[in-house]
Symmetry: C2
Subunit: 234 residues, 2 copies
């Protein structure tokens, strides 16, 4: 268990106190940073970041580019890719780096170094599962595409769902670490949602993961966000 | 700038104080965890983790499996893959999750949440670059293999070396964050080493990255480790 006191001194000399009681004692005010998340008009690799903002009730500018707008934005994107996050005007890239940062800043990254290891591990596994699906989308030949899709559903998905289940069951609370929502839960929920969205009924094969998705949706802020979000095919 | 006081209470009731002066005041002893890193007999995706241990002067058990031993170990590997890290007997997987954890525990993960974002971003970019090389190794057809290899060296590598250069130059110290070595430096160094190892002279095209590698090697512990490490083809 980590007991931690963190005092953040902003480079621009404003003082942010992450512990509210410390802030009160020191009579300083907390200044909320502004977040702007730029991605395409889809869930894709930005959605687990949006879910963290939603769970935290943190307002953010949700910029969704059309393909034409992306052509204009691309030279301005740090690493030629999306999502990109601007925090107080400075831009960062790489979805996992952004998700980790937002989760840490908003309190969804666990309490201990061990928690963070488990969260990172879970997030990386979900990234691997998603990256296994990319060759299916890229394949032009319909016969090969069908074969890759079959292998993905019959081998890859069960394997990663088993990993996700085992990590979850090592903790006994229904959450990945501790006894409340973290980035790990949101990353697994996002993958499970997309699997069920593309293959209705598939989660019945993975009852522990299905039950975990239901646990995630007991969070009223996440539920409200998911219910209200714009439906997109990806 | 974060000012941080971290007190770790070990689950097994031993009290570890990460701040030595606190430990002294409280008359407690610091117990070093034991680390066992299992991988193949190569640098591969374990080397940036080994480099963190080296930079920290942290002893660890460096287990290198033969293909035959891997067949035996595989069912015991958490996620069917290597590297795997055991900390005080508990096993974790996923190279980036392990690297982040070890870097955090040993003081190579920056000081602020912003530092961590930049480190994560840099590490993810290097992972992407490495994953772009995998299809070349997988390709069986020699003509296609040569074509993929050419594209990798002429398009992918310059693009990612430019990203690595830009992040480095946003900081003015010669290091990726702050003014000392972090996981970001070691991850970029590891990639640069492998590029130069496979394509001698290639780093001359990327003088900022080459100079950065030299900066990393000014660390006597890293230099001693690199000079003494077992040469392997990968």
């Amino acid at each position: 268990m980590w007991a931690r006191l963190r005092v953040y001194i902003h480079p621009r000399r404003r003082v942010n106190y992450h512990s509210f009681s410390v802030a009160r004692q020191l009579k300083c005010t907390y200044r909320m940073p502004t977040y702007k998340l730029t991605y395409f008009d889809s869930r894709g690799s930005a959605e687990f970041i949006r879910l963290v903002f939603a769970a935290a009730g943190q307002p953010f500018e949700d910029v969704r580019l059309t393909r034409e707008e992306w052509a204009d934005f691309k030279p301005k994107a740090q690493f030629g890719s999306l999502p990109a996050l601007e925090v107080d005007g400075r831009q960062f890239g790489e979805s996992v780096a952004i998700a980790n940062y937002v989760a840490r800043e908003l309190g969804f990254f666990g309490k201990t170094a061990r928690d963070e290891l488990i969260i990172n591990q879970t997030v990386q596994l979900m990234q691997e599962l998603k990256s296994n699906a990319i060759p299916i989308f890229m394949e032009q030949n319909e016969v090969n595409k069908a074969e890759l899709g079959k292998k993905f559903l019959e081998e890859t998905v069960p394997r990663y769902m088993d990993y996700a289940k085992r990590i979850l069951e090592e903790n006994t609370t229904g959450y990945y670490v501790g006894s409340s929502l973290t980035l790990a839960d949101l990353a697994v929920y996002d993958v499970a949602f997309n699997l069920e969205f593309r293959h209705p009924g598939i989660l019945d094969k993975y009852p522990v993961i299905k039950a975990h998705s239901e646990t995630v949706l007991t969070n009223p802020k996440v539920k409200a966000y998911v219910d209200a979000r714009k439906p997109t095919p990806l």
